[in-house]
Amino acid sequence: MAPLSTPGRVPAPALAIRGLAMARGYRTLFRDLDIDLAPGQVLQLTGPNGTGKSTLLRLIAGFLRPDAGTIRWSPLPEDATPGECLHYSGHHEGLRDGLTAHDNVATMASLLGGDPGRAEAALVEVGAGPLAELPVEVLSAGQRRRVALARLLVAPRPIWLLDEPFTALDNDGQALVRRLIATHAEAGGLVIAATHQPLDLPDIRHVSLGGQAS
């Protein structure tokens, strides 16, 4: 079976973050944040709890508007918004209770411009093949994580934003995440992962939040 985790037709754009600042409530999480990232690079975000790792990922995903600064991707394919070029995997898996694992992944494939027909193969690849026809609410936390990972594979998108991708996963699952990230980067994709677990990649970039927080 051909590896599913190819970034697809769209080449990954480069990321340029300039002077980014964000406050939550009364506290400034970070300010004057600059990050540059080229296609094929993997960035690991670290920093104590509450320093804004998740917020930064949500800013980059376009879910939040920054208080100051810019987040630019270039070059973007014509008519595409940054959101259409990226995968975001957050604390919540994005799985809807009441639907089976397969239906969840297939719907997401249609929504995100992928191929619903690949849902089954993707589930097999993340080791969730036998779970395909079970409703997701009966799955364990680790199993749900795996099903969520299948989403990265059914719709090829060049940018991956992963918030704590290792949570609840066993050793096997953690190895899977490392392999997926490595494959994606090798194929020219761009990955930003917020985690304290080692990613075991040769040239990985690190940004630590919390130092800049006032």
Partner: protein, 252 residues
């Protein structure tokens, strides 16, 4: 006035500047309001004639009608504040909006209660499904919804934006509700009802009515400023408590 005036409306965004101006305004405003009410109530009970049909009950009008005007006026002000919150992101806009909602509800309630008291001798019942009373009742329900939404959302900024959207949706709906209720009423009009709005109002009644309306307006402004100051203080306390406890005040 030779004092340094705020050079722009935006300067009032600073709570300290707002508080200074509010303090300066409050004293004179209270005096003017008391004066208006004193004269207005004197006019209501002594200067204005009794109605040839309704007798002394017509004097409820001087309490009832300005309350109805204010009920709408306050909502109009809230629409203005809602735009301030959503479009200009003016920090005082949501404070004003939060302070205004219960006042608007109170004026609406005063209008309904006095209307009901007025209704007893004229209609013979405490409540009549008359078009005006019904519209005002729906207005009260909308005010109550806005207040409930304020209380339900913890984060003031989030609450402000949600309430602003609800206020605007309500503003679009209010004329339609008014129209539909009027239309419904004409279809169901009971055989003979005394109409509250006489053909014209005699000047001897109009003057006390306008004075009372100005008094109501003054009362509203006084209460609004006090409530805005209170809200600012509450937010300051909340902020200091959170800082002292080391809680970031996360919006989520």
């Amino acid at each position: 006035m030779n004092d340094a005036r705020p050079t722009s409306w935006l300067q009032l965004a600073n709570p300290a500047v707002f508080n200074r101006w509010a303090d300066r305004l409050l004293g004179p405003l209270v005096i003017v309001t008391l004066g208006l009410f004193a004269y207005g109530l004197y006019g209501t009970f002594f200067l204005s004639p009794a109605d040839y049909q309704q007798g002394d009950t017509v004097r409820i009008m001087y309490i009832h009608v300005p309350a109805a005007w204010l009920a709408l006026f306050v909502y109009a002000g809230m629409v203005f504040s809602a735009l301030g919150t959503l479009v200009f992101r003016h920090p005082m806009a949501d404070v004003a909006q939060k302070a205004a909602a219960p006042l608007g509800a109170a004026f609406t309630l005063v209008c309904l209660i006095t209307g009901s008291i007025w209704g007893k001798p004229t209609w013979g019942t405490w409540w009549q499904w008359d078009a005006r009373m019904t519209s005002v009742l729906v207005l009260l329900l909308i005010y109550l919804g806005i207040m409930a939404l304020w209380r339900a959302v913890d984060d003031p900024l989030r609450a402000a934006r949600a309430v602003a959207i609800l206020t605007l949706v309500g503003a679009v709906n209010l004329p339609i509700i008014k129209f539909s209720v009027d239309w419904w009423y004409t279809l169901h009009q009971p055989a003979s009802v005394f109409r509250l709005d006489g053909p014209t109002i005699h000047p001897s009644m109009l003057k006390p009515l306008l004075i009372m309306a100005l008094g109501y307006l003054g009362l509203y402004l006084v209460l609004l400023l006090v409530r805005m100051k209170t809200e600012l203080t509450l937010r300051r306390i909340d902020r200091l408590q959170r800082l002292a406890a080391g809680i970031p005040g996360e919006r989520a």
